[in-house]
């Protein structure tokens, strides 16, 4: 995360490759399911042996005996509708919820977050020198309507995408944050409204950030968990 601060995001998980290295982010939407982005995986039927989701820690490389850390192997990958670039990842065993690990709510189907709502992104990715890279960083950003966002991107922002407003300092997702959450607060509950996708610039000042709009795919997410 560029322009973020060390923070707490108990639904943000770190995806780990076979060497145990963090390579992408994700969000815990159920004790057994994580949502992330298709770009992080080689195929829709990738062999996930040795891959895992780490949670319950603020550190990118936590020490061996950190008590709250959970590292759960991934057992299944399911690709979302083609234009969604989403994947659902099933955990081999359910995550244990506690003060450091919790699931995030899904938005109502087809819900649009009102412009101006403040949301936050979180991840263990690159900071480009703006923060400590060894811990989970969180950055806040206000939502921008697609109509306004399209003024920056000449109409290329689609309905299944959503934007956050540009700010005058560099803030945004960066390498290895992709797949992680854009979480927005609704009363005292946090809702997964967006998923970070690869962007051509990290926290480009004066430019909106684009995310996949989760509310468009809530029916698919529920169906995957149910079927």
């Amino acid at each position: 995360i560029v322009g973020g601060m060390p923070g707490n995001s108990p639904w943000t998980i770190s995806l780990r490759d076979r060497k145990g290295q963090h390579f992408c982010g994700g969000s815990l939407v159920d004790a057994k399911w994580v949502i992330s982005t298709r770009q992080c995986f080689s195929s829709c039927d990738a062999d996930l042996t040795g891959y895992s989701a780490m949670m319950g820690t603020l550190f990118r490389d936590p020490k061996e005996g950190e008590p709250s850390k959970q590292n759960i192997p991934l057992s299944k990958i399911v690709c979302g509708p083609s234009e969604s670039f989403l994947v659902m990842l099933q955990l081999e065993t359910p995550a244990q919820f506690n003060e450091r690990v919790s699931q995030i709510c899904l938005p109502p189907e087809r819900f649009i977050v009102p412009e101006g709502n403040t949301c936050e992104i979180a991840g263990w990715g690159e900071t480009q020198g703006t923060a400590d890279e060894t811990v989970l960083n969180v950055a806040q950003m206000p939502v921008l309507s697609n109509k306004e966002c399209n003024k920056f991107f000449r109409g290329r922002v689609k309905e299944n995408e959503m934007c956050t407003a540009p700010v005058q300092i560099p803030v945004g997702a960066c390498e290895k944050d992709y797949g992680g959450p854009l979480a927005c607060q609704n009363s005292d509950c946090w809702v997964l409204e967006g998923v970070m996708i690869p962007m051509r610039r990290c926290g480009h000042k004066g430019q909106p950030n684009i995310f996949i709009r989760v509310s468009v795919y809530v029916d698919w997410i529920k169906k995957v968990m149910e079927l």
Binding site: D47, P81, P107, P108, E175, R201, C202, R213
Partner: protein
């Protein structure tokens, strides 16, 4: 620190079953540990393999055969692993080949070997014993001849001749940096014996075979699971963690662009991507592969000639998730180039549907990935929650794509691939029917999820 298991080749979930009339030669040892079982077999002159059974109880069964059409056959058994002595299985030689116990019985020029017990047509002083392996007329090397196993020939004009059995390092050659090498070399360039991949001593390591099913981390054979320049192994010497193996390179084939290479998009992990994108996802220029600044690295283009490490283009020489590069920024060592598009792997749409396809009655029966649909009325390979009984008016006939639950992403089906419960079909929405998929905001209340404890900064007194 050498494990007695090093002498054996493991076949997981298998047992060796003697053919009729040989059962009495099996020696069962109940409750013996795996290593002890291997040790007993190694020390027994009569033992050539063992079944290690874990259920219903732990039993070590020492066997006087290996897989052979005349004496024993290999069968599946989830409760047993089969271990066979490598010396009897190998079709190549280690060192001078004095331990070779294979069944080649012809010399390099095609002459039949003379039986070792026989003194005709050539008289000699090698007497078969249980120890020296001079069995029947098989090629052996009882005197440590530098040219490997040999035999007396049945040709009176030719007393003896080498059998020309290849050395293990030459038997299977390697291409590129040997990531696909699956040969049987189990010693390093300096002659150290390799540690088994399924053991954690004397060296602890991350390459457990079950975590890397595509890397064939069998027994203690040299392999290259981490895209090193050549195959290697952990050694049984506690002072030497790992060492390269010497394996001959395959003769060079004509250099030409492989048909799998892509330039504008990448497939799977992008190991065959040969395009010219030279920036990371976030626009940072890549470091040249032939440079060692700002980042020192082992990916010298000349050592990885099959990996296309030209200029500073994004590549995937090590089996990462996608093409990547070392960046030109000292603080950021590597980064993916995820802006390169993935080549479309959806098959072409075969039909179109109106609205959300709830009324689709066509006969497409393939998913977007080309997998055949499962019949709605069957419960295999997937147990159906939506079927003709639960949705009697949805026309769930045969295995045609349908949309019984009004899925907004179109018709779908359960698939015949056991790994994919359901998927969307090779059908597109008919042209010009795009309708808005989002709705304006409304107040929603959540109760159980999305809670967290935010710590408030307390001011000190």
């Amino acid at each position: 620190y050498r494990s007695p298991l090093n002498d054996f080749q493991r076949s997981e979930g298998r047992e060796l079953v003697p053919l009729k009339g040989s059962v009495d030669r099996v020696r069962p040892l109940p409750g013996v540990s795996l290593e002890e079982c291997a040790k007993q077999c190694s020390e027994s002159l009569d033992c050539r393999a063992f079944n290690y059974e874990t259920r219903p109880s732990v039993t070590c069964k020492l066997l006087p055969w290996i897989r052979d059409t005349n004496s024993a056959e290999v069968k599946r058994n989830v409760n047993s692993d089969l271990y066979e002595k490598k010396d009897y299985l190998r079709q190549c030689t280690v060192g001078k080949g004095t331990s070779y116990r294979g069944k080649v019985s012809k010399t390099v020029s095609g002459r039949e070997c003379q039986q070792w017990w026989s003194k005709f047509p050539h008289d000699h002083r090698h007497t078969p014993s249980a120890k020296n392996g001079l069995e029947l007329n098989y090629c052996r090397n009882p005197d440590g001849d530098p040219s490997g196993p040999w035999c007396y020939t049945t040709d009176p004009e030719r007393r003896y001749e080498t059998c020309g059995i290849p050395r293990c390092e030459d038997e299977v050659c390697m291409t590129c940096n040997g990531e696909d090498y699956r040969g049987q070399v189990d010693h390093t360039v300096e002659g150290l014996e390799c540690q088994r991949w399924d053991q954690q001593y004397p060296h602890q390591h991350i390459y457990q075979p079950e975590k890397y099913p595509d890397k064939s981390l069998d027994d203690n054979y040299c392999r290259n699971p981490d895209a090193s320049p050549v195959p290697w192994c952990y050694t049984t010497d506690p002072k030497v963690e790992r060492q390269d193996c010497r394996i001959s390179k395959c003769q060079k084939t004509l250099k030409r662009s492989r048909p799998t290479h892509t330039t504008y998009c990448f497939r799977n992990r992008g190991e065959d991507y040969r395009g010219k994108v030279n920036e990371t996802t976030s626009g940072i220029p890549c470091q040249r592969w032939d440079a060692q600044y700002p980042h020192r690295h082992p990916f010298y283009p000349q050592a990885y000639e099959c990996k296309g490490l030209e200029e500073n283009y994004c590549r995937n020489p090590d089996g990462s998730e996608a093409p990547w590069c070392f960046t030109s920024v000292p603080e950021m060592r590597t980064a993916f180039c995820l802006q390169i598009k993935r080549c479309a792997d959806d098959i072409e749409a075969e039909d179109c549907y109106h609205e959300n396809g709830k009324n689709y009655q066509g006969t497409v029966r393939k998913t977007r990935k080309g997998i055949t649909c499962q019949k709605w009325s069957l419960n295999t390979p997937h147990r159906t929650k939506i079927n003709p009984t639960t949705h009697p008016h949805a026309n769930l006939t045969e295995n045609y794509c349908r949309n019984p639950d009004g899925d907004r992403h179109g018709p779908w089906c359960y698939t015949t691939d056991h790994k994919t419960e359901f998927d969307y079909c090779a059908i597109k929405q008919c042209a010009g029917e795009k309708v808005s998929i989002v709705e304006p905001a409304e107040k929603v209340e959540f109760t159980e999820c999305g809670k967290r404890e935010d710590r408030v900064n307390m001011k000190a007194r």
